[in-house]
Symmetry: C2
Subunit: 738 residues, 2 copies
């Protein structure tokens, strides 16, 4: 995994490289290093692809052994090329690539596509070659795609710098694939289904050019209206997140990434040689920046079909027109289960439909126009419901019944297939009888889906992008801009430094709660008693009953050593509890008297609320990750939780809440009143700032956080710091810093 910083800060390893990847996709001249005539070779295919799909520039074959390749004058080296070379495509063995890059730099080449394999994907030997190559590249400032990739295409200019079988048609979708093979399959599918692309990039090992670079490029590219990605590893997570968050407000990004199961993650690791992080964290990160995740390959095809032909839906209300009840109902199930709704049909629309539809039509959505519906009835119905403001999109279903005329119907319907700002989809369900109609619709810009339920799910998937946008456009959480926050941060840091100065990495419960309190988190009043007398005095200052807990700088699992005494009703109970805890720790063979630093006394809170966990832990790729979820004894059984990346604003906090089932309970069930959700959101935001502010914190948990009608209060807390000698670059750092 690349250890580079987000590229906005420049390359953290070697240089200040921030050069754009624009020249890679818009070269005036391209050299193919390793061009050859050997049948089926990569070098021959790449050269042929560049020549056979003219991009308006010059192609130079580089081959030290031949005067020409495929009839085109060849040059023995880059240096020998007569003019400037903007882009090189490298097809030579892995061990030669470093030298070629050095030579290219000399020549002033701006970018390279390294198709050659044999780097980190083959093991330690290849990884060392790749390290050397990266070092060389770092000296040059040249942007490099690959190694181990299929190449790139700019179908708008015609550039095909790849060894894919054919160049894509020009279109408006940018497609980045980390699998060359899957890229080939999708390109073939697109060609077969009339889908054009604005860009195709096989990203390979991401030694240099990564997700962030390509997403930023496609975000600025006016020919690209949407982005589809096949991802195997995220690589430089902050770079991806920053770029995606900049682009999703303008155009949608869809990502399919395997590894939802451990088995698949393992298979992926053996396949690309890249580590994969926790899939749940990835999901949370995608959501945070407005990226929509796809899970099935068919969904990718459906996206290409819909995005290339119709506008994005602005809402989730679908109107279904059908000549058959069954498919309409199956489609309704899929629509509702995926987050859509059936559009209401306005009375006025119904009235108008009544004027020409047979009496038995459904008079509601799905608009069932019956088995003998004529092509004219279909077309007129779409025309009429297309003007009803209640719908955000339309799906026309046809099943080939005895009276049906599938092809004629397609021909009539297609005239009404462009509705401003609302997508029109079709599903001509069947085989041979509907094939010609399907073709006519597709050619007219109405995407045909193999099944109507798949069409409905495509509609709601696209709507998810729109819905996410609302969330991501909310203002970011207040970072440490104002004076108060600076003070809070400093005060908390002082507490942490004090603990570190004492040689510890674990805060006591008392210290942990103090840290939370500095950030405004409501914690139960907790006082330290070093003696029996202190304990009693403190308890008397509170309202009985109280709780006594072990105070130890070393023991974190207090219950295991008899260190928690609940429900103490009177001073005598407190005195007894103090002695028992002290004795229990002192006599414990694993511990001893030196692990007893006293007890804390805190008020006993009546537990008639819900037990919640709020925590943060470190992910290898994404840094600190927040967890909110149901606590209590069934926590591991129900796994009712949501993850998020700090810092949160209240919209992010609310999104996390809404992902959990316990949220239903918190809002009030069975006659119980709601807890103060606003307060809970604020608490989550404050908690997220602790994590975002304090790099020394490795883990922090509030468990339980008790939420009831009356209050939301942290009953116990635990903070763990990084090892004392951890270097600055290894401390916690949020993946999201914008």
């Amino acid at each position: 995994m690349s250890e580079k910083q987000s590229s906005k800060d420049g390359c953290g390893v070697c240089c200040g490289k921030v050069a754009s990847v624009v020249p890679l996709f818009n070269p005036k001249s391209v050299a193919v290093v390793g061009a050859t005539e050997k049948p089926n070779s990569v070098g021959r295919t790449v050269l042929w692809n560049l020549i056979s799909s003219p991009f308006g520039g010059t192609v130079y074959p580089i081959n030290p052994k031949r005067p020409s390749v495929l009839g085109i004058k060849a040059y023995p080296s880059l240096a020998a090329c007569p003019g400037e070379v903007d882009l090189i495509v490298v097809c030579t063995p892995a061990k030669t690539v470093q030298g070629i890059i050095a030579e290219a730099a000399q020549k002033g080449v701006k970018g390279a596509v390294v198709i050659s394999a044999g780097f980190k994907e083959i093991g330690p030997k290849g990884a060392e070659l790749e390290r050397q190559l990266a070092e060389e590249a770092g000296k040059t400032g040249m942007r490099i795609i690959g190694p181990n990739c299929l190449g790139i295409m700019n179908p708008i200019t015609g550039l095909n710098a790849s060894f894919a079988p054919a160049v894509a048609a020009a279109g408006s979708i940018g497609f980045i694939s980390q699998s060359g093979a899957l890229g080939c399959a999708v390109l073939d599918w697109c060609a077969h289904n009339g889908v054009g692309l604005s860009n195709f990039s096989s990203i390979g090992s991401m030694m240099d050019v990564n997700w962030g670079d390509l997403i930023r490029y496609l975000g600025d590219d006016e020919n690209t209206h949407s982005i589809v990605i096949y991802m195997e590893s995220i690589g430089d997570a902050p770079s991806f997140l920053e770029a995606a968050s900049k682009v999703t407000p303008k155009k949608p990004i869809f990502v399919i990434k395997p590894g939802r199961t451990e088995g698949a993650a393992k298979a992926a690791a053996s396949h690309t040689g890249s580590m994969t992080g926790s899939d749940d964290v990835l999901d949370a990160a995608f959501k945070r920046v407005g990226v929509v995740r796809l899970t099935e390959i068919s969904e990718v095809f459906h996206m290409f079909n819909a995005l290339s032909r119709q506008p994005l839906p602005q809402g989730n209300r679908l109107t279904v027109i059908t000549n058959a009840g069954g498919p309409g109902v199956l489609c309704t199930d899929a629509l509702l289960l995926s987050g859509g709704v059936l559009a209401e049909v306005a009375p006025k629309t119904i009235e108008e439909l009544n004027t020409f539809l047979p009496a038995a039509w459904s008079r509601s959505n799905p608009v069932d126009i019956l088995g003998d519906a004529s092509p004219e009835a279909y077309a007129h119905t779409l025309e009429v419901v297309g003007q009803d403001a209640g719908g955000d999109g339309y799906l026309v279903i046809l099943t080939p019944q005895a009276m049906s005329r599938p092809t004629e119907t397609a021909e009539k319907v297609k005239a009404f297939g462009k509705i401003k700002g609302k997508p029109v989809y079709a599903s001509w369900l069947g085989g041979g009888l509907v094939a010609a109609g399907q073709k006519a619709l597709m050619e007219a810009g109405i995407p045909v889906f193999p099944e109507p339920d798949a069409a409905a799910e495509t509609f709601t998937t696209l709507y998810k992008y729109k819905k996410n946008l609302e969330a991501i456009s909310a203002p970011a959480a207040p970072l440490a801009k104002n004076e108060d926050r600076q003070k809070v941060r400093a005060k908390a840091l002082a507490l942490i430094d004090e603990v570190r100065a004492s040689g510890r990495t674990i805060l006591t419960e008392y210290e942990s709660k103090k840290l939370l309190a500095i950030y405004g988190v409501n914690t139960v009043q907790t006082e330290i008693a070093k003696t029996e007398e202190d304990a009693v005095k403190l308890a008397e200052g509170m309202k009985f009953p109280v709780v006594a807990k072990l105070l130890s700088e070393t023991i974190t699992h207090k219950t295991d050593v008899g260190g928690v005494k609940l429900n103490l009703q009177c001073p005598e109970d407190v005195r007894k509890a103090f002695v028992e805890i002290k004795t229990s720790v002192s006599n414990n063979p694993k511990w001893g008297a030196e692990h007893f630093q006293g007890v804390t006394i805190q008020q006993m809170i009546k537990q008639d609320g819900y037990e919640i966990i709020l925590g943060s832990s470190l992910d290898g790729q994404f840094g600190p990750v927040l967890l909110f979820g149901m606590g209590g004894q069934l926590v591991e059984v129900f796994k009712d939780k949501a993850l998020g990346l700090p810092p949160l604003n209240s919209v992010h906090a609310r999104m996390m809440l809404e992902e959990t089932k316990i949220f239903t309970a918190l809002k009030g069930v069975r006659g119980r009143k709601s807890v103060d959700i606003k307060e809970l959101e604020n608490l989550m935001v404050q908690f997220s700032l602790i994590v975002a502010d304090q790099p020394w914190i490795k883990e922090v948990d509030i468990n339980p956080l008790l939420a009831s009608e009356e209050q939301i209060i942290a009953l116990d807390a635990r903070v763990i710091l990084h090892d004392l000698n951890t270097p600055a670059e290894k401390l916690s750092k949020p993946a999201i810093q914008f």
Copy 2:
């Protein structure tokens, strides 16, 4: 909804009809009533279908106005037909059908397909026509399919008694559709994809012939190896369940039924005029009889593809062969998430593959044979892994890369596509480059799926059938055969009769627990105290602390009237509780002293186990339905429950347990020991027998059932009976009685 009994008992309304539907599908002569030459008419299409696809018998057009139809001699009436008529197909208006059935009965016709619409689906007027038709039919003993259907086909003989556009090819799948339109679409798809059927039946309104009849018929039909059903309403549930349970041990049944959402259920209701029951109950019923439910239309197509070409998998271990990592990994996700596993590849197999695959092949499953895999490498790999006993099925994936030869590969691979008892699937992923290969594979009997993940999911869906079989082959629960069970049943009935005799339909908690105890359910010791003195005496006979609860023959929500006093530590507490409960009820303006019949005293059980609910309530279609699930305050938030149909055996009980998350907790988590699962299963079986045995019980709940390491015990219970004057046929009756 038909009110008929399960047909094994004969028609409960009118006759002893048990006639088979065999003659419907194997007629020697067919009359088309309403045959005409009017273009596009049903009468013309049906006649033409019968003539153009010869079935080896005679066709008689019936038309009073013409001497011939489509050149075939016509007869003015059925009576005028020269020979015997086995089957009539009725295409005339609804109001004429009753007379035609009467005439057909006179003629000795054995079966009728009523295509005519205009019955219950159009509202009350049509429903009345249908009632009259059913009455007429009941007199005759004739079996009738429809009304409002597309007709039937027997592709083995060639019979096409439908108005579908074309007859299906002969094959081994029986397909029953309750939507004629969807039926048409599937028939067209099958024709286009080379899938043959053994039977096609458009079942229509199910006035007479229902699911049970057709499933039994297809179960006995040797040409039918599997059954696929599109269902809109289950109709006579016991008949369906009985037939399905007889057939699934021999051949798989797959059902797609919409109505998973309320919105779709509503749309279905407006479309077919039929009530739809609770979808969760339906799911439970399907599982119980081994029926596998499909949810997406694409799955139906995938089933047809797989069932028509390859054997069923006997296990869930899939081996994936691929020339691309990405699709292999996506496929692994889908496989694992749907319940399959990647087969282990034996060391011997790896060794053999090493002899001819390039060094960099994956050496594990997915078997990645790399991007330049030759047709020979593909074929040889399938040959070798096909002999590895560790796999239960095979999926070959190809993506069209630069070196790929998709068509040649298909040609080579197809020779190894028949492995005894193990399915071989393929996914040639792409568009035009792979089309010829796809065709070659399909023609050679290897089903090609549009995406590899869809292929993996098809594999696991088919495996689910196999897995269900293990459960349904377990012995049924002991019904009242042995003497003890008869005694238990009689004893419980006596208790119920006593309550009914006192004019009540609600059992007190005391009586409810007594009933449970009769069936061997462990309940907390509970005694009745009519006076303070009694209460104290009873409490002293138990171990303190105890609980006092209101005893009332009328008040069921004891807590609401201050009728529950927990944690009574001493005799004085008990005395005080008695007085408080009595006073509280007596002074309650809604109730009064007459609603106080004393208190019950029971031991206070330490609640350190899990709170469970075990109950039964009545479903309109399926009768009593059992519910097992997590109890406690979050019951409505987590909805962690499983449904089942009584009576259960221990395997059914275990299946219900395994559907819930709380089962994970019951088996022991976080250092807690498991509860006695065997005992819990037994308790569920006994509980199910109460429901199966006692028709007067309308609802029964144990809430909570406390399950801990030490014991499983009913802490509270509630039984509600049917109204006292409920007629016998309206009492509770399990849908499953075999």
